[in-house]
Symmetry: C2
Subunit: 142 residues, 2 copies
């Protein structure tokens, strides 16, 4: 398929092009330059995709998921959550900090007690979509 007699070479990002649709090897060989170019033009910018990954990373921990799942139902203090999840107060406190920094929860102080609650309308949707996916795949496996 490849016609090596065609020596019209372009340089794109360190890769050598042979013609409009074929790129010769450098390290990884791009087989479908036109497709890649089109995809690249449509994809969100790198910064947004990084932010998105960071966002999902916060959901990607069992403890934090459980905390959020609990807070969807009711505002709770740190001690409540620690009991609910059968974990130490310290561990919960650390994770609540992560959730707060991510803008997912907020807190209010009442004396010694600090109550945490959800602070983002989007996450419930995302949470439910994710859960729906789990359930469908669960059914599929049976």
């Amino acid at each position: 398929m490849s016609n090596r007699s065609n020596d019209l070479i372009y340089k794109i990002k360190g890769y050598r092009l042979k013609n409009a649709n074929e790129i010769e090897r450098c390290d990884g060989t791009v087989l479908h330059e036109d497709v890649v170019a089109k995809v690249q033009s449509v994809m969100p910018i790198e910064e947004d995709l990084s932010d998105l990954a960071e966002s999902f990373k916060v959901f990607g921990d069992t403890t934090r998921i459980k905390i959020l799942s609990g807070l969807f139902e009711a505002e709770m203090c740190v001690c409540d959550i620690a009991f609910l999840l059968n974990m130490t107060q310290s561990a919960i406190s650390h994770q609540l900090r992560v959730l707060k920094q991510a803008g997912l929860v907020k807190n209010r102080k009442d004396g010694k007690v600090v109550f945490y609650s959800i602070d983002d309308e989007h996450i419930k949707h995302i949470f439910d979509q994710g859960l729906a996916r789990i359930m469908v795949n669960k059914k599929g496996k049976i």
Copy 2:
């Protein structure tokens, strides 16, 4: 607020109850046992929440997010993706394996070339919801 003269003590999961709504200290003190009990009864089971976290963990990586973002637009081979993300073929291949094991992508083989594509209708929704969240928060910060 706490009435220490009431010595009616119950044992629940290693914690000592004082009365219906108050639990005395053990390690973490549960301040609102009624709330916790209600939340616990409504929350999804632990297994599903763990699966959900595992699911989001797969999204929680910039490389994998970029791969998915690309595959939303077009089927691509490993080399295409490596070029698109300016990463090594090996790194991409490893991540594609993760995505495949998670049931997010599938592949077909055409000669030497292996083409990957999206294999889950749910993830685009989740992806877009997440992106919407990013965008709103982005606006809010300006």
